[in-house]
């Protein structure tokens, strides 16, 4: 059976029925085959939104294409990810008889096929880890293109982060204890999230405050530290103990004066439901302005920064008659307070432009 004897439309249809991991392997057969994949699968390759490398956790070493999950009426989720390959560290004597070598962006790497996922597995010695991952990433940039978003998601405490072109680093760790201190020379992260309450704030010099996005469960002390020092764009913070609302008042006043959070686009703070909150007192203290009650306020919604996931692609919409204005550039932020949720959405518009949206 000679693939080249088929008409090009048939070749295209065959390739369309192959998984990304099979296309990846096929691309090593010859230069012409790689060209054929790239030319006949242009639309498919362009439609890839993101490629995610997992470091730690149950998906440790997997590189996959994160696709929108198909949710069946039985709540069964189908096809949330398509694996491209797996990367594993191995010992020198752990060579498999079925392994084969591929020249990946100039580096010879040992591969095998993982029976469970039917996808290629790149194995390497610990000392080669950085160069192997670098070569694989460079190959992906060439094969899948550099317009795709590439994410490196760290979920373990070893915190291995390769420094590579076009790679956004995300930290998704259960417990943040001491992480920031063990991570002194970290690059600026794309996103940080945890699942257990953070009881100690990051050290004041930590680059974690510069992360583009935060999704944290934290205590009051850590929350106040973030409100004071956050330099990123989006944050969703859930406070696990009772909270003095003055922390928020101070935050808004500093934002208004242009002193703090100049890059901030979106902030959501969820306060423990048992906390007694006097929102009216707080709104008075920050000097909010009101949109005419007869007018419908514009909806503030943005693409979420934490982009490696396919769900929750947008920030929660803020529709509020209440807003504040930053003194330095006259830009507006909508403020919504509802039960225990404080939402703050910054517009890239001056007050005049903002009000004109409702005319």
């Amino acid at each position: 059976m000679k693939l080249s004897k088929y008409p090009s439309l048939v070749q295209k249809e065959i390739l369309e029925n192959m998984t990304y991991s099979d296309l990846f392997l096929l691309s090593f057969v010859s230069k012409n085959t790689k060209k054929l994949i790239k030319s006949s699968q242009t639309t498919r390759l362009r439609s890839i939104g993101r490629i995610v490398y997992y470091n730690g956790g149950t998906r440790d070493g997997m590189a996959n294409i994160s696709v929108k999950p198909i949710l069946h009426h039985t709540n069964r989720v189908e096809k949330a990810n398509e694996f491209i390959l797996k990367m594993v560290e191995c010992k020198e004597d752990a060579k498999n008889n079925d392994s084969f070598q591929l020249n990946v962006a100039g580096k010879l790497i040992d591969f095998g096929i993982c029976g469970r996922y039917n996808c290629p597995v790149a194995s390497f010695l610990s000392i080669d880890k950085e160069s192997v991952i670098g070569s694989i990433h460079n190959y992906f940039l060439d094969f899948f293109g550099d317009s795709i978003e590439y994410y490196w998601v760290v979920s373990d405490y070893k915190l291995f982060i390769p420094r590579l072109q076009n790679l956004s680093v995300c930290l998704s760790i259960g417990n943040m204890v001491d992480i920031a201190d063990r991570f002194p020379s970290s690059p600026v992260l794309n996103h940080i999230e945890n699942s257990f309450p953070m009881n100690n704030p990051f050290s004041p010099q930590s680059k974690f405050y510069q992360a583009d996005s935060l999704l944290l469960i934290l205590n009051v002390k850590s929350l106040l530290a973030i409100l004071e020092q956050f330099q990123g764009r989006q944050a969703s913070l859930t406070c696990t103990n009772s909270f003095d609302i003055r922390g928020l008042t101070e935050f808004v006043n500093r934002w208004k004066s242009g002193e703090a959070c100049q890059k901030l686009e979106y902030l959501k703070v969820i306060i423990l439901p048992t906390t007694e909150i006097s929102w009216t007192e707080m709104l008075n203290a920050i000097g909010v302005k009101q949109i005419d009650e007869t007018k419908t306020p514009p909806t503030h919604v943005l693409p979420r920064v934490r982009g490696w996931r396919c769900f929750g692609q947008k920030t929660d919409p803020i529709i509020s008659h209440t807003y504040v204005v930053r003194e330095t550039d006259n830009h507006v932020a909508s403020i919504s307070v509802h039960r225990e949720i404080f939402s703050f959405g910054v517009w890239n518009k001056t007050e005049e432009e903002f009000l004109a949206m409702m005319d």
């Binding site: 693939l3 080249s4 088929y6 065959i14 192959m18």
Partner: protein
């Protein structure tokens, strides 16, 4: 399954047996057409079954043949092997008037048969069957190493591609030189 008997290359083929009808009998008598492949075995196929093939459907839609005319003028597909055409006819009969299932497990497992079937189906423009076949061809290399894929699909190496390209260039150069010489000869 449609049964067939050996035809001849003459315009009046031997009497073929009728393909079985699907369970629901049509209200209007159905029209039939005749096709044969390289082996000249004539297959009688209903117009309903032939609707799967965009090529044949396009050919017959304006013909208005009577039964006798159709029998006397079977469509010749000389580029398709008899056993492959038989497979295609069987598939069209089995799926006549039915929604096509998401998978078809009855496709040939042998590489060469599948290869010929893909070419025939592509030529006859049977979209659903082509999709099944292409899926099956794709499955042949699932989880295989690049060297195994090369072997299964007979893909040349870079060195072979380069040599073939060089050879093609050389041939083209020679042909061009020949044409120039011939043109010069004509001019004299």
């Amino acid at each position: 399954m449609s049964s067939t008997e050996q035809g001849t290359s003459s315009a009046a083929p031997a009497e073929p047996t009728t393909a079985p009808e699907s369970a629901a009998a049509p209200e209007v008598p159905e029209s039939f057409y005749y096709v044969h492949g390289k082996d000249k075995v004539v297959h009688k196929v209903s117009a309903g079954a032939l609707q799967h093939s965009a090529l044949i459907h396009g050919m017959i839609s304006n013909l208005g043949y009577t039964e006798e005319q159709a029998k006397a003028n079977p469509f010749p597909f000389e580029n398709i092997d008899g056993d492959i055409l038989q497979m295609v006819v069987d598939w069209c009969n089995q799926h006549k008037g039915k929604p096509t299932p998401p998978e078809d497990t009855n496709l040939p497992k042998q590489k060469e048969k599948l290869f010929d079937l893909v070419l025939a189906v592509n030529y006859l423009e049977i979209k659903e069957l082509l999709t099944y076949c292409c899926k099956q061809v794709a499955m042949m290399v699932k989880g295989k190493s690049p060297e195994e894929i090369r072997e299964i699909w007979m893909i040349p190496t870079d060195a072979e591609d380069e040599a073939a390209e060089k050879e093609a260039k050389k041939r083209a150069g020679k042909e061009a030189a020949g044409e120039t010489a011939a043109a010069a000869g004509d001019a004299k």
